[in-house]
């Protein structure tokens, strides 16, 4: 078959990773994407779907499945409503309100990946910028514990490494540094790779702070596997940048120190801004994990680990994060949306999930489908359903619907759920 010309393809917005590439194309006839990276293409291709709504494995109508789901949520003392990072804001908003109404716990994927960054934000704030600023101005980009080549494959081209803009006219105008515990694929594209010992992010950042401050004597000959000489060079590079960007990943948030690592890095950036301009930003994973935190922030004041059992929201990551709740056995039902905790959560959490009635909403079957009492398949946002998603830097996009489907959107499913809940609670 001859290739279809680009003009004849439809512009879509990729709903896989936090890069939210909005320049990708889709061939509806061939059901095939163009310009996507491997991860995005895989999502935008024909995949196995959940055929129909099910209760205990038996196919039912959407209405019946939703009726059952509502019954489970209302009968529960404290249901957990978890996932959200891979759906659109409109659905998240309804989910937050639903959780409030049923007095449950709202938690989202950040609680197992970038939440330490949220805690650091609470401690220090975050001096950041949009990806367009990185593209336009950043003459030094440091990927710290992040591996864009594998996790956000088009990020380097579109925003951070080979991207050109206002002040950066050529790849040579930009120095790219990768700091990681192993030589990742991303390290290969860097001008400078600094290998550190696992768990030494904190002291290395402290050493850099000392060096930027001019307190060289405070730094020993070697920190976390990096020589003082190399640290000095890195500190100089940072100080001499016109506009630097530190883009950190799970290597920082999920290694020893966690939120303290991020906090320390933010303090380094605060300090650097007294000399020149620097920003710091997390490389967020799922395409709308930012929305999964932003929407509850405006609706109920917090971003994750929110309990409503008292009728008003309370935030406590150590108590109300999904894994804490599950491992304490402190929820008696769960709604899992756009996520697969059975595949990714620790055994102890999964063990409790298996004991309680689980409702799943997802376009695609996964491990969680197997243990779910009620399964509600949904349309895939970005292809079969529209809605708002926030790129990792918070820039909002309206992802598109270009294919008709029999599947209900997450928004429609949750809308009916909320309506039924309101009805049963006598709030209509």
């Amino acid at each position: 078959m001859p290739e279809t010309k680009e003009e004849e393809l439809t512009n879509v917005i990729c709903t896989f990773c936090g890069s939210v590439c909005d320049d990708v194309l889709f061939d509806v006839e061939k059901y095939k994407g163009k310009k996507f990276c491997k991860l995005g293409s895989a999502k935008f291709s024909k995949k196995e779907r959940i055929k129909a709504p099910m209760i205990d494995g038996k196919e039912v109508s959407y209405e019946e499945a939703i009726e059952k789901a509502v019954e489970i949520l209302l009968n529960a003392k404290r249901p957990l409503l978890y996932g959200w990072a891979s759906t659109v804001n409109e659905a998240i908003r309804l989910g937050v309100i639903l959780t409030e109404k049923v007095g449950g716990v709202y938690d989202q994927c950040a609680s197992v990946c970038h939440a330490p960054g949220t805690l650091a934000l609470i401690e220090e704030g975050v001096p950041g910028g949009s990806l367009g600023e990185v593209k336009n101005r950043a003459d030094v980009v440091i990927f710290w514990g992040s591996n864009p080549m594998e996790a956000h494959p088009r990020h380097p081209v579109r925003y951070s490494v080979r991207a050109k803009g206002l002040l950066i006219k050529d790849r040579k105008d930009r120095k790219v540094v990768v700091v990681d515990v192993r030589k990742t694929k991303s390290a290969n594209m860097a001008d400078l790779f600094i290998q550190i010992k696992p768990g030494y992010d904190y002291p290395i950042i402290s050493a850099l702070r000392a060096l930027v401050k001019g307190e060289e004597d405070a730094v020993p000959d070697e920190v976390g596997g990096v020589s003082k000489q190399q640290l000095k060079e890195l500190a100089e590079l940072m100080k001499n940048a016109k506009y630097g960007a530190l883009l950190y990943g799970l290597g920082v948030t999920q290694s020893r120190g966690r939120d303290r690592n991020v906090e320390n890095a933010i303090k380094l950036i605060q300090l650097l801004n007294r000399h020149t301009r620097w920003i710091i930003w997390p490389m967020r994973g799922h395409y709308n994990v930012v929305g999964a935190g932003d929407v509850p922030a405006w609706e109920v004041g917090y971003t994750y680990a929110i309990d409503f059992s008292r009728g008003y929201p309370r935030f406590s990551p150590g108590e109300f994060a999904a894994n804490e709740v599950l491992q304490r056995g402190d929820c008696d039902a769960a709604l899992i949306i756009a996520s697969d905790p059975v595949a990714h959560f620790p055994k102890a959490s999964v063990a409790h999930l298996k004991k309680i009635p689980v409702i799943q909403i997802d376009p695609f079957p996964n491990m969680t489908t197997l243990i779910s009492k009620v399964v509600i398949p949904s349309a895939m946002a970005g292809l079969e359903a529209e809605g708002t998603a926030y790129r990792m830097d918070g820039i909002p996009f309206r992802v598109k619907k270009i294919i008709d489907t029999e599947y209900w959107s997450d928004e429609k499913i949750l809308e009916l759920m909320l309506e039924k809940v309101n009805e049963k609670l006598g709030l209509r």
């Binding site: 367009g132 605060q270 000399h275 109920v300």
Partner: protein, 563 residues
């Protein structure tokens, strides 16, 4: 659904229509104020407003209530969220101390008798986010002002004196952002911040653009007028938060002198308190309010709002990113910053205004001086929420402006520094109730060019507040506690003809409209088409086709077409 209302025997204060404490009845049908003959009096619901003050719903023309700034504030400050105002039930759970959740914002305005509030700084590329949050605020009408003063298109067109293109760009941008008017924040200074600098004077050159704040402001006023927008340029001046800056402010105001408009000001200068400092350092800082007041009172094309600080917690959040960094350095407090594509930036820093702190007390006094010394048809009451503090303390500001006695009492508890650095103690002026209603209703509506808001004339939106305050008997100079209490919670708040709050309790949740301004027929957008393509291709991180907000995505949009 839309009941008819007969508001009976109220004492009406309606400055736009020249009504000062007259006993009269007001009739409402289909969301509008109508003649008595229009309603079937037997069918209409009667509200007994005997001995009560009846006024138009409050209009907050400058607050930060939606979008990435306030939301980052919430995310950064969970300690702000521990005040529980309402448990979930018939209404949403409502929480927040000064920073409020979206439902709480709508509920608190409604309880206070306010029915309209505008978000004063919308980052254009984040417009969709701002609108999502506006759509999450119940009870009130709203709109958002996108920020222009550091947008590269503006800098480029001003530098090249491409006025037609600048005009087209304003129209294009308002349509794309579903925005209401032209907000300008520290013009040029935020672009300079991308290099670590700032533009503190009107003649500082903006790096990379061969243009100055003076030229940006003048160009934007000129094209806002040529485009015939209902609201003027709305300016957060350069050099904010610096001793001596009152001179920059007056110099800036003078840029408007060659423009005029029959219906409204040609320049609105916002939260002037932060731009009204005399002195040369924080050691000898003093009030420049009297000089500013003198200038504003002497011209008829400028309006301002106060930016009154309220003692207690606040969160500074502005598009003035370099100022926010300075504040962080000054206080050592948390600091968030957001540089935004080629459009500008923003910053967020928590603060608390302490009465015994000389600088804070000075700021508090300057806000009041501005409110007292400037004519009531030129100064709008604001706290620049949440920069100066909560909007829920507007009643405090109202009562203070009306009572010298209350001010004297308050002066006793603040730093004595204000005695030598400001003229507050010597001001005898006490605003009348009429003037206070002007400053919170008719004036902000006029400043925004909203003919159907801020008054109770026939045809106006039936946004009405009724307060337990009898204008005919209240002694506002002495009974300031009663005044404060009355304005804190309305007896009735009526929005679009429906009772939404009564005696401080919510009655009904409703969803207001979002106004946006369409001026595209007054400019030739084709003139900038190729520029748009080029700039998006080169400097944005998103496609032009994916930029902006469609009306269909909004809950209740209302397009105002500029003729």
């Amino acid at each position: 659904m839309h009941h008819m209302l007969h508001i009976k025997n109220g004492i009406v204060v309606d400055p736009k229509n020249g009504i000062n404490a007259e006993k009269m009845d007001i009739f409402v049908k289909e969301g509008k104020i109508v003649e008595e003959s229009e309603v079937d009096v037997k069918e209409a619901k009667v509200i007994d407003a005997s001995n009560k003050l009846v006024v138009a719903g409050g209009f907050d023309m400058h607050a930060h209530i939606a979008g990435s700034k306030i939301n980052t504030g919430r995310e950064m400050r969970p300690e702000e969220m521990r005040t529980v105002r309402l448990i979930a039930g018939k209404f949403r759970a409502s929480i927040g101390r000064v920073l409020l959740t979206s439902p709480a914002i709508g509920y608190e305005y409604a309880k206070m008798g306010y029915t309209t509030a505008f978000e004063a700084a919308q980052p254009p590329v984040g417009a969709l986010h701002t609108h999502e949050e506006l759509d999450a605020i119940p009870m009130i009408d709203k709109a958002a002002l996108p920020v222009f003063g550091n947008w590269h298109f503006v800098l480029k067109y001003v530098a090249e004196k491409e006025w037609e293109k600048l005009r087209a760009f304003l129209a294009w941008a308002l349509e794309r952002t579903k925005g209401f008017g032209v907000k300008v924040v520290n013009p040029g200074g935020v672009e300079a911040w991308m290099y670590g600098g700032n533009c503190k004077s009107l003649d500082d050159e903006v790096p990379g653009f061969n243009v100055t704040p003076r030229e940006i402001i003048t160009g934007l006023i000129q094209e806002t007028e040529n485009l015939g927008l209902c609201h003027s340029v709305h300016l957060h001046c350069n050099n904010l938060g610096t001793p001596g800056n009152y001179q920059t402010t007056i110099e800036t105001m003078k840029l408007a002198s060659k423009f005029s408009n029959d219906k409204r000001q040609v320049l609105h200068v916002t939260h002037v308190q932060f731009n009204a400092y005399a002195g040369s350092s924080w050691r000898d800082v003093a009030s420049g309010a009297a000089e500013i007041a003198k200038y504003v009172n002497s011209v008829d094309n400028i309006t301002i709002d106060m930016g009154q600080p309220i003692f207690g917690h606040a969160t500074a959040m502005t598009g003035d990113a370099p100022f926010q960094f300075t504040l962080h350095k000054l206080t050592g407090s948390r600091w968030s910053n957001k540089d935004s594509e080629i459009e500008g930036g923003a910053g967020i820093v928590p603060i608390a205004y302490l009465p015994k702190n000389p600088v804070h007390a000075l700021q508090w006094a300057i806000g009041l001086e501005l409110g007292l010394l400037i004519d009531s048809d030129r100064v709008v009451l604001s706290t620049d929420y949440p920069n100066g503090g909560p909007f829920t303390e507007y009643p405090y500001v109202m009562a203070m402006l009306m009572s010298k006695k209350m001010r004297e009492k308050e002066l006793e508890r603040v730093s004595p520094y204000v005695q030598k650095a400001t003229g507050l103690a010597a001001i005898d002026n006490e605003k009348t109730l009429y003037e206070i209603i002007q400053m919170t209703r008719s004036l902000p509506a006029r400043v925004m060019g909203m003919d159907n808001k801020g008054h109770l004339g026939i045809g106006a939106d039936a946004d009405i507040a009724i307060y337990n305050l009898d204008p005919l008997s209240i002694d506002t100079a002495n009974d300031f506690e009663a005044v404060y209490k009355a304005f804190k919670t309305s007896a009735y708040t009526i929005k679009g003809g429906e009772i939404i709050a009564k005696d401080g309790e919510l009655v009904k949740e409703i969803w207001g409209r979002t106004f946006w301004v369409d001026a595209t027929s007054n400019a030739s957008i084709e003139a900038i088409d190729s520029d748009l393509n080029e700039m998006f291709e080169k400097y944005y991180s998103l496609q032009r086709q994916n930029y902006g907000v469609e009306e269909a995505w909004l809950r209740k949009p209302e397009r105002l077409v500029m003729g």
